[in-house]
Symmetry: C4
Subunit: 124 residues, 4 copies
């Protein structure tokens, strides 16, 4: 299974809720990009983040080994800069090999969590 996916993906939504009703990692509000590398070579991935009112930040560099998945929380990205909470953003994910990208948010600001998810847009 060496050619599953695309090399460029985009996610127009992006938002890290600024609060959580739980302090466990599982139930902390988070914004996630799930990346599947089903191929036989490692995926070298760069994420650029776009904002409403300032220049883009990145690239954030991630490597996903062959035949592995990585569910990356935007909350955890630190280099070159943390992703601000309570701020609208978008992202473009580029890889040197085909990958599949899906966007998921868990929002636990209120007493019962909410979820959203969608495949990212395959842009290249």
């Amino acid at each position: 299974m060496s050619e599953v996916g695309r090399r460029v993906w985009a996610i127009a939504e992006g938002y890290i809720p600024p609060a959580s009703s739980s302090d466990t990692r599982e139930l902390t509000s988070h914004e996630t990009v799930c990346i599947l590398n089903a191929g036989k070579a490692p995926a070298h991935i760069e994420i650029m983040i776009y904002f409403a009112d300032r220049a883009p930040v990145g690239p954030y560099k991630i490597e996903v080994p062959p035949e592995r998945t990585s569910h990356v929380r935007f909350n955890d990205l630190k280099d070159p800069a943390p992703v601000p909470v309570n701020t609208d953003f978008s992202s473009v994910i580029s890889s040197d090999v085909p990958i599949v990208v899906q966007h998921t948010r868990l929002d636990s600001r209120q007493a019962a969590l909410a979820l959203l998810s969608t495949m990212a847009f395959p842009a290249g």
Copy 2:
């Protein structure tokens, strides 16, 4: 990154919940179209809104600067007319340069918010 996206997008769902359990902007029920312009030129965007039982309304005009995102709430669209709440609609988003469009709703009518999101349909 100058050719990420498409020039025409459609969202068949559309509904602004008529109430909210919170009066902060973040937690007010809202229907959003998230637009990423990852290119080097400004995006001049027109949104047409379609209803079940009356003629379409628009275009609503939006400009997204180069390398910026705009998360536009249908609740905030006023010209040529506010978008009615508690009313089914659909929308078509057209741009003069490639953009990426995603649809998100936050529904806080009840005590715990609900979310939905999906990439829009790339129609042209």
Copy 3:
């Protein structure tokens, strides 16, 4: 805007929750297919419904006028037979002109509603 969409769409998910925490129409649990006809001709649409363990049922016939949207609840389909609640199904939506189709569920079985939505799969 006369060629927005596709003529055949599929939704693999399908489930009408068997209960609701509210008896208003807005907050009753529902499974919806949202259909946009952005073109200048009426759309004559047929929906076939597929089950796990019995023959498909349909076609359910729907007409969406030009430049109009219709958010159709599976709960409301009656001819040739009501769609059973608490039962897994899938659907295929066929039209004689291009349309855009999106799938949404509101589940209000519990005290706070949940939502899901996704573009349908453009199959033809």
Copy 4:
């Protein structure tokens, strides 16, 4: 309706919540792959599951009869091995005939359930 869908699909997200607020089957937290076979021949399907830090597991073999749907819970997959809960994964779904695949989660860890859904990515 014999050619609806594609033969290879991918879902980058995957997560079985480790708890539920209900012990009924309907309201137990679950991660589901909904598969529509709208064609006239049976679909022989293989699912491979990818993890963050170990080799892929599979294939899980499923047959969906002609003109039927199957909503398969990852929770129920047992052969060659159960899918672990509270663990990030991805999946690739391959079929010998065209199918349509959609991903849905019901998360009932907290008092009010949450839902997400998206069409899978058509990869081949």
